[in-house]
Structure formats: structure tokens, C-alpha cells
């Protein structure tokens, strides 16, 4: 089991290298170089800490083992054996922490996101379920102090949503919400149902990492910006509350729309953000298809059309099909308390990644 700590050797070496380089006079005065090195060093900090802790524990164990060998007094020997057990347990825990620390992080985890919830099969009931999901995510965001901004929505007659697109800004938004991507299925008696029959409906959730203009440059010549207008002169001739901007990205065929009562300028900006996110997502998806199955599980997301979760209201049970686990108290979950489910998925993803990385 100690072999895992062997992985730390080269890391500690590199850390020490960085430190001595940073101390050199010609480097210490080079601001940019210092910044780059400091950043690299910060990234290694955790692992070096683990390595030092392990050295300590290994020494302690060595001392206890020699003491045990030399000890004749049975009482003192028993004490030493107990202490040795404790140290071994600590080393085991440290080994687990090291494995988690070695799992490569998803580079998108820190990003803000755009979430799209769309009603699937089931007509009005599906739209109501989509509204329930939006509500859950909105409250989940509040619990985490994230900001929500509606980008586009399409209401259904009964107060549900055929479509709801919203941005979520906050630290780690993507790292948590990414597990929501896929098809959610609900089994319950709809509000409109007169005969008490249970219906099954679905809603689809897409989670796109937000990308800024520097990362995805869109050539203005490749996009066509339309606004909805009824023909006629426009300008002073028209007085409307709604501004709607549609952007068509010619090379990919992607279309995004943004409509609300705010300035056209803001809607254009939101639509561009949506377009960037979609283009980035399409690119990630393409890369993901090319990756081996092992690396894909590290990305932690299922196929977009995969049924990831079933919400069975009469049985008060939510089943996540990826981990085959059930959770209860649907009202609480739909009030935004999603962390239990997301924690379980996060742990599952780690175990997947570790398993396939070959660490045993």
C-alpha cells in the first residue's frame, strides 16, 4: 500500500526545484516568471503536504516497530502495539486522501454555467415538471449563494415551462450542476388528472460551462444577427415592450434566441454568451467522443439523452440510475436540497476515475 506514496517522490523534487529557482536573484526580479512558478508551486502544495505528513508517520511507525522488537515488558509492548495500530490507520487514511488528490480535476469545474431545462414527453405535465426542476435548481443556487439570471423562457398554458434557460454564476457552479445533465423522468399523478392515474413524463437538462470572449472567438462574419420585427419602418414608428435577438452561427447552424423586456444591447450580449457556451460544449462533446471510455468517466457526464434519474412521487423515491441509489423526501429535494444526491455522484465519479487510473 505504501507504493502509492512513491508517486510523490518526483512531485516533491519538482517543488524543491521551484523553490530554489525562485530564490535565484535573476529570477526573483522577473515578476512574470515568479508568478508562473508561484502558480505551479501552489498546485503542488497539497501533495507536498501529504508527502511530509507521510514522512512523519513513516518515521513514527519505524520508531514504534523497533521499540516493539526491543520491548520485554508485556504491558509496554501492548501499548506500543496499540500505538502502532493507530499510526497504521492514519497512514491508510492519508493514502486515501492522496488517491483523491491525484485524480485530475475537470478544468471546467470552476466555471459559471448556463442551464437549459426543456419539457420532454408528457405535454403540460412535462412542462410543469420542467418548472419544478427549475425551482429546485433556483433554490439550490440560493443555498450556495450563486446568482441566477434568466436568459430565455417559454411558458406553457398551465404555468409550467416548455423551455427555461438561465445562467448560474458562482464558485464551483459547474462542478456541482454538471451531474444534472441528461433526461429526468417523473412518475406522479398530474394536477390535471381526474382519475388518479400515474403518468410518466420527462424533462431534459443541459448544463453548459460559460466561456468568455477570449476563449471562444466568434468571427462577426460568420454570424447573422436577427431581431424579430413585423416589417414596416421600425424605429420611432414602433413602441414594443419585448426585445428579441436571434443569432445564427452559419458554420455550425446553431441558433440562439434571447427575448425579454430589457435593452436589445443586453439581449445581444446574452445571446452571444449562449452561443459561445454552445460552441464550447459542442467542441467538448466532440473531444469527448474521441477520448477513450476511461477518460470520459472523468468528465463525469452521461450521454445527453440518457435517462439519469427517476422521480417517483407516490413512492417518495428518487433513483439516480448512474449509481443505482435511491433518495427519499422528494419535497425536500425539490426545495433545492440536492447536495445529498450530488455528493453521491461526485464520490462515484472519483471512484470511477481512480479505478480506471489503475491506482489500487
Amino acid at each position: 500500500m505504501d507504493e502509492i506514496f512513491d508517486k510523490l517522490g518526483p512531485i516533491v523534487k519538482r517543488y524543491e526545484e521551484i523553490e530554489s529557482t525562485m530564490a535565484l536573484p535573476e529570477v526573483a526580479t522577473d515578476f512574470e516568471r515568479v508568478q508562473t512558478l508561484a502558480k505551479e508551486r501552489a498546485g503542488l502544495e497539497e501533495l507536498v503536504g501529504i508527502s511530509r505528513r507521510w514522512q512523519q508517520l513513516a518515521e513514527e511507525r519505524g520508531d514504534l516497530e523497533s521499540m516493539l522488537r526491543a520491548e520485554n515488558d508485556p504491558e509496554l509492548a501492548a501499548m506500543a502495539r496499540e500505538e502502532l495500530e493507530e499510526v497504521d490507520t492514519k497512514i491508510e487514511q492519508l493514502g486515501r486522501a492522496l488517491r483523491v488528490a491525484l485524480v485530475p480535476k475537470n478544468p471546467n469545474d470552476e466555471r459559471d454555467v448556463i442551464v437549459e431545462v426543456r419539457s420532454g414527453t408528457g405535454g403540460d405535465e412535462a412542462s410543469l415538471f420542467a418548472a419544478d426542476l427549475y425551482r429546485a435548481y433556483s433554490r439550490y443556487a440560493q443555498l450556495h449563494n450563486w446568482k441566477i439570471d434568466i436568459m430565455d423562457s417559454s411558458a406553457s398554458p398551465l404555468g409550467g415551462f416548455n423551455k427555461m434557460v438561465f445562467g448560474v454564476q458562482g464558485k464551483g457552479a459547474y462542478s456541482r450542476l454538471k451531474y444534472e445533465r441528461g433526461v429526468h423522468r417523473v412518475q406522479r399523478i398530474p394536477e390535471t388528472e381526474t382519475q388518479g392515474r400515474i403518468h410518466t413524463s420527462t424533462a431534459t437538462v443541459a448544463v453548459l460551462p460559460q466561456v468568455d470572449e477570449v476563449e471562444i472567438k466568434i468571427d462577426p462574419d460568420t454570424i447573422r444577427i436577427d431581431i424579430f420585427h413585423a416589417g414596416g419602418h421600425g424605429g420611432q414608428n414602433v413602441n414594443k415592450v419585448a426585445t428579441a435577438v436571434r443569432i445564427v452561427h452559419e458554420p455550425s447552424g446553431l441558433t440562439v434566441t434571447c427575448q425579454d423586456e430589457r435593452s436589445q444591447y443586453k439581449n445581444k450580449s446574452k445571446a452571444m454568451a449562449m452561443l459561445r457556451a454552445r460552441l464550447f460544449d459542442a467542441e467538448e462533446e466532440r473531444k469527448s467522443q474521441e477520448m477513450s471510455q476511461t477518460r470520459r468517466s472523468q468528465v463525469g457526464t452521461a450521454e445527453r439523452s440518457e435517462k439519469i434519474r427517476t422521480y417517483n412521487y407516490p413512492q417518495d423515491r428518487i433513483t439516480d440510475h448512474r449509481i443505482n441509489s435511491s433518495f427519499h423526501d422528494i419535497p425536500k429535494v425539490m426545495d433545492g436540497f440536492l447536495d445529498d444526491i450530488i455528493d453521491a455522484l461526485s464520490t462515484w465519479e472519483e471512484e470511477q476515475a481512480l479505478g480506471e487510473a489503475g491506482a489500487s
Binding site: S138, G235, Q236, V238, N239, T243, Y265
Partner: protein
């Protein structure tokens, strides 16, 4: 007590039955304003109860809107270029096309001109929409905003103070460019450009707006013509003019521009609907030494 969801649905239905376009969107905006909640919260708390006081307020808003009073006048504000502006029945409600005018003015200012010494005139400022946004994005510019309506200037005054640009925007009461104390580098104007006879045929909402802010005379060109005629002595040698108008007015305006500014370059910028919307007149470019 009805829930938010019910209030939204009922409001939507009433507005739709009254022939209001974008009824659902307007219903959302009304409920947001009455409940003082942003849209994301309205959607997330649809089961929230609406108090009888809130219902009463919402009713009043709906009743006014059923008379086709513009929503912006009822709520008292309109967002323009990312900024909330006070609007009253004394001013024209800013249109999205005018954002194109602002964008081009900014583009020209940042590209061609000596930004440090930029003096700008926003002629017929109304709410102050253009002047204010130029002031925000051109921190070194000095801006004069003129209007023939004192009541409009009161609204503009509120807006420039509210957005902390009163130190760089000077309001001038008078006819077109007459009240300007000095010549300027850039003239921007969204002057009334609707032909008189067309006004009564437009949307009911527009009948509530001040006629003086819309009426451009028989061909809608009266104010624009007068401005082009006056501009020559009030525009600096390397200066530019940006004028918002209707697409079919562009050829006539270009002709006038050629008449009064024979040495200038003219151009036309389109709005997001793809229609010709802004005429640009650029006086002689500086000779390279």
C-alpha cells in the same frame, strides 16, 4: 388568495384578450414590478401568495394597460443600452434602434477622434438616453444635450444625476443647436422623423407619446433638414454627424448632406433588423503631416 402562478396566468389572459402583443412577457414584467421580485424569483416561487394590496396594484396596472397606455409610462422606467431611465409622458420612450446610434457614436469616437478633447452635442435629447450613455462610456468627453421642451429636460436632468454624469453633461433649453455655447466635434440626433399623417395610423401606444417628439412634418424630414442646415457652422473641421431616421429618408438626407457638406463623406449604418437607420456625415479627415 391567488398564487403568483395564478396572477401571472390571469394577467396574461386579460392582456391577450385586450389585443396587447407579447402579452405573456408584459404579464411577467407587471407581476415582477408589483411584487418587487426579479424574474428568476417569480418563476421559482410560483406558489407564493399575492396579497390583496398587491392584487389591487396589479389590477390598476392592468386597467391602465388595457387603455393601451404604454407600459413604460405606467411603470415609470425603460431600460436602454443597459441603463434604467426614468420616463414620463413628456418624453419619447427610447427605442432599441437608437442603441445602434449610440454604438456607432462610440465606435467613431474611439476609432477616429481625439478622445481627450471630444465635445459632443445630443440634439433633442428627450430622456437624455444618448447623452447619458455616451458620457458613461467616454469618460473624457464633454456633452451638451439640448431639447426644446423644458419638461423633457427635467426628465433628462433626473437621469443624468441618477447616473452620476451631471458633471460632464450640460443641458441646454432651446431649438435644435441654437443654445450650444461652442462648436462641437460630434453631433448625434434622434430627431422626430415621422410624417405627420402617419402618426395616427401607428400603434395605440404611440398616441400617448408627445407628438412633438415624433412629428417631422409632411415627409418627416423637417427637423433633420433644419439640423443639417445649421450644423455647418457648429461642427468642428474634423467633426461628424450621426442622425437616426427611417430607411426611405436616407436618400433625401444624403442629398442634403452633400449640399451643405460638399467635402464630407457620408455613410449609412443599419439597425439589427437590417434596415438603414443611421446617416453618418464625416467632415474632412486630418491630413497626414
Amino acid at each position: 388568495m391567488p398564487s403568483l402562478r395564478e396572477a401571472l396566468q390571469q394577467t396574461h389572459q386579460i392582456l391577450e384578450a385586450s389585443g396587447i402583443p407579447d402579452a405573456r412577457l408584459e404579464a411577467e414584467v407587471m407581476v415582477m414590478n408589483v411584487m418587487r421580485m426579479p424574474r428568476q424569483d417569480i418563476f421559482a416561487q410560483q406558489e407564493l401568495a399575492v396579497s390583496s394590496q398587491q392584487q389591487e396594484t396589479l389590477s390598476q396596472v392592468i386597467d391602465r394597460r388595457k387603455q393601451r397606455e404604454p407600459l413604460a409610462y405606467i411603470l415609470g422606467y425603460k431600460e436602454f443600452y443597459g441603463v434604467n431611465l426614468l420616463v414620463t409622458p413628456d418624453v419619447l420612450i427610447p427605442r432599441p434602434e437608437t442603441e445602434t446610434l449610440v454604438e456607432h457614436a462610440l465606435f467613431m469616437s474611439l476609432m477616429g477622434m481625439e478622445v481627450a478633447h471630444l465635445v459632443i452635442a445630443d440634439v433633442g435629447t428627450g430622456t437624455g438616453a444618448i447623452a447619458l450613455n455616451l458620457a458613461i462610456h467616454l469618460p473624457a468627453a464633454r456633452i451638451y444635450a439640448t431639447d426644446s421642451s423644458e419638461k423633457a429636460l427635467m426628465v433628462a436632468n433626473y437621469n443624468i444625476r441618477r447616473h452620476n454624469v451631471a458633471d460632464r453633461v450640460t443641458l441646454c433649453h432651446g431649438d435644435l443647436m441654437e443654445p450650444l455655447p461652442e462648436p462641437v466635434d460630434l453631433i448625434v440626433a434622434n430627431l422626430p422623423y415621422i410624417p405627420t399623417a402617419r402618426i395616427p395610423t401607428l400603434q395605440p401606444e404611440i398616441q400617448w407619446e408627445p407628438a412633438a417628439a415624433l412629428d417631422g412634418g409632411e415627409q418627416g424630414m423637417d427637423q433633420i433638414t433644419r439640423l443639417i442646415a445649421q450644423a455647418s457652422e457648429r461642427l468642428n473641421p474634423q467633426g461628424s454627424i450621426l442622425l437616426e431616421m427611417d430607411p426611405e429618408q436616407v436618400p433625401l438626407a444624403e442629398e442634403l448632406a452633400r449640399q451643405y457638406f460638399p467635402e464630407a463623406e457620408t455613410g449609412v449604418e443599419r439597425d439589427l433588423a437590417g434596415l438603414d437607420r443611421v446617416l453618418t456625415i464625416s467632415r474632412g479627415v486630418a491630413e497626414e503631416a
